[in-house]
């Protein structure tokens, strides 16, 4: 009898034979994610010389290596902020239903599907010294010599915006459509003008979504690699942290240092995300009345 009762109690908490169905998935996660991840962390503590923290010490002692953190933050933070900030007004304008919305959304989303390499190639052709942009500015006499917009900070920044914006836009659009449109109408009947309605009603309800969107676009931008090499200045102003990790692991063959840099990268990302989510928890995060 006690056996039956125990089984019953477990089943009520969701513990029953169906749990075995989780096994294949769990095995995959262990084999393909947890083990390599733990292996990498382990590797970072086993440098050829310098003791357990040797690799970390080597990274932070060398300004050339250490500065990759600020370089990467200098690219990814502004790019993520711009992506979120630019998405809000556009998504806000597009929150209702109108003719051609699907077409416009598709156009805005295409860059995601193109991939970084194609975007980089386009940027080189368009913004490069002999590209259309510079030629147009030269021909109308606005500038005397081509503006350098590729193979430096700005090339990578544009690339991050082009690939990150659609992502941020789609997320924010879906957060916005989760806010009940009658809330703004109610605010209007209470005397709130357009800006007040946005500022007092929609923005506070949207803010938690903005924080989440910011975290995701930031993480995407922080791990930038291809565009930093292709349209950036990988030896100088856009020597981002992923380049440093690649360099250490596959050019110097110091796997331990490579792993250590990867761990530092993860810790910096986590720190930024933790700060943002900490701020988010101060906001109202309950129901927003819409279809969610």
């Amino acid at each position: 009898m006690t056996r039956v009762a125990l089984r019953h109690r477990l089943a009520e908490r969701g513990v029953d034979r169906h749990l075995w169905l989780l096994l294949p998935g769990l095995a995959c996660v262990l084999a393909l994610f947890v083990y390599p991840f733990a292996y990498g962390i382990g590797l970072s503590f086993q440098p050829a010389e310098g003791g357990v923290f040797g690799a970390y010490r080597a990274f932070f002692a060398d300004a050339y290596q250490r500065d990759t953190i600020t370089t990467t933050l200098g690219l990814s933070l502004p790019a993520a902020i711009l992506n979120v900030a630019a998405s809000v007004p556009i998504a806000y304008r597009m929150r209702g239903r109108f003719r051609g919305k699907r077409l416009l959304t598709t156009v805005l989303v295409v860059p995601i599907t193109l991939g970084t390499v194609l975007t980089a190639e386009g940027l080189l052709n368009y913004l490069g010294p002999a590209g259309w942009f510079n030629r147009a500015l030269l021909s109308i006499g606005l500038i005397d010599e081509p503006v350098r917009l590729t193979n430096n900070y700005w090339g990578v920044f544009f690339s991050l915006v082009i690939t990150g914006f659609p992502f941020a836009f789609l997320l924010i659009l879906s957060y916005l459509s989760g806010i009940d449109p009658t809330l703004e109408r109610a605010a209007a009947t209470l005397g709130a003008g357009g800006w007040q309605r946005f500022r007092r009603i929609t923005l506070p309800l949207l803010a938690p979504g903005l924080a989440t969107t910011f975290c995701l676009t930031f993480v995407l931008a922080f791990s930038v690699f291809p565009s930093a090499v292709l349209v950036g200045d990988p030896a100088g102003s856009t020597r981002v942290i992923s380049i440093a990790a690649y360099h250490a692991a596959y050019e110097v063959y110091d796997y331990s240092l490579g792993s250590a840099i990867a761990v530092v990268m993860g810790v910096v990302e986590l720190a930024v995300v933790a700060v943002v989510l900490g701020l988010r928890s101060l906001l109202y995060t309950g129901s927003t009345g819409g279809k969610g």
């Binding site: 009940d180 009658t182 809330l183 109408r185 109610a186 605010a187 209007a188 009947t189 209470l190 005397g191 709130a192 003008g193 007040q196 007092r200 009603i201 506070p204 309800l205 109202y284 309950g286 129901s287 927003t288 009345g289």
Partner: protein, 351 residues
């Protein structure tokens, strides 16, 4: 209170695509009155309310507040209060801040905002809940917040869009009394949209019955209840028996009709001549089981507390609804009669 003497809707029309949701509504709302817009779903009553509030632009026509044109103003400059069907409370603001919102938008001094907010909270008896978020309140409490938020501004007109439809039956009755009480004590002018004829009859001073975007009848609750202008209004006013029959004879106001196995006398609504096709409207409570009359066969009997609701079938095959005091058995034959004054005869051809 920034009141008006009358608010005039002049041929207000609203089109959605090629369909008229509201086909030329002309109506005058007087200060202090409680007006109900009544009709089945899709009749245009909510459209009319949204046009009044300024949430929907008009396709044609105009709205005038005394001498001033109103329909060109955005909703935030009309100064009307609105109670939404889903309440539309701001989920991130406490009850107190929800109610204070409109006052803050008017840039009133902080002391006045606080005083009037607390007054409104007291008015709807939510003192204990003032610091809670709307999500922590029950449906009836949310409803009261929505009403307080609308009336705290002392609006010249309060618009209510089916405010009771999300509440259960008991609470609906309580809130109905509450709304009428507020209307009277605050001296509000109210336009109330509902599909519930009982609600409209009990609350309103004047009713507007709409169908397919058109006005079917405007009148006091008594007018509509006793003298519906046509069979659609009758259908809405509880004339559950609407039987297709033919005129046999006309004796002044009293008309004899027969058809579907029944012979009755009734009161004509509109001109009729012998041989005309008509629709005969009788309330179930006016169709009595009596000694003499037309025999019908009882089919379904429902217990309804003080009396029994009976569905019976005539020899002509039509279903009739009536009330009975004693419990008949399904299959019984009973004879039914109705007082001619309680039987309304509408021309069938009329719209």
């Amino acid at each position: 209170m920034t009141g008006f003497d009358e608010l005039r809707l002049d041929g207000v029309r609203r089109r959605f695509g090629d369909r008229d949701a509201l086909a030329g509504l002309s109506l005058t709302i007087r200060r202090g009155e409680f007006l109900a817009l009544l009709g089945p779903s899709g009749c245009g009553k909510s459209t009319a309310l949204n046009c009044l509030a300024g949430l929907l632009p008009l396709s044609e026509g105009s709205i005038w507040q005394d001498g001033a044109r109103l329909d060109t103003l955005p909703p935030e400059r009309r100064g009307f209060g609105m109670v939404f069907q889903n309440y539309a409370l701001f989920p991130h603001l406490s009850v107190r801040r929800n109610i204070a919102f409109g006052l803050q938008m008017r840039r009133l001094p902080r002391d006045e905002v606080r005083r009037r907010t607390e007054e409104a909270i007291r008015l709807v008896r939510l003192e204990e809940h003032a610091a809670k978020l709307p999500g922590q309140l029950s449906g009836g409490q949310q409803q009261r917040v929505a009403i307080a938020r609308a009336v705290v501004l002392e609006p010249s007109l309060v618009l209510m869009d089916e405010p009771l439809s999300n509440l259960d039956a008991k609470l609906r009755l309580e809130m109905r009394t509450e709304i009428r009480r507020l209307h009277q004590t605050l001296g509000l002018t109210t336009v109330y949209v509902t599909h519930d004829q009982e609600e409209a009859l009990s609350l309103a001073d004047r009713l507007v019955v709409l169908r397919d975007g058109r006005v079917e009848q405007i009148g006091t609750p008594q007018d509509l209840h006793e003298r519906p202008a046509n069979r659609h209004v009758a259908d809405f006013m509880g004339y559950r028996n609407l039987l297709p029959m033919k005129v046999k004879a006309v004796h002044g106001a009293v008309v004899a009709v027969e058809g579907v196995g029944l012979t009755l006398e009734g009161t004509a609504v509109g001109p009729l001549a012998p041989g005309d096709d008509v629709v005969v409207g009788i309330r179930p409570e006016d169709l009595h089981v009596g000694e003499q009359g037309t025999p019908v066969t009882v089919e379904v009997v429902e217990y309804q507390g003080r009396e029994l609701a009976v569905e019976a079938r005539t020899s002509g095959g039509a279903a009739v609804h009536l009330r009975a005091a004693a419990r008949p058995t399904p299959g019984d034959q009973v004879t039914v009669t109705a007082a001619p004054a309680r039987v309304l005869i509408f021309p069938a051809a009329a719209p």
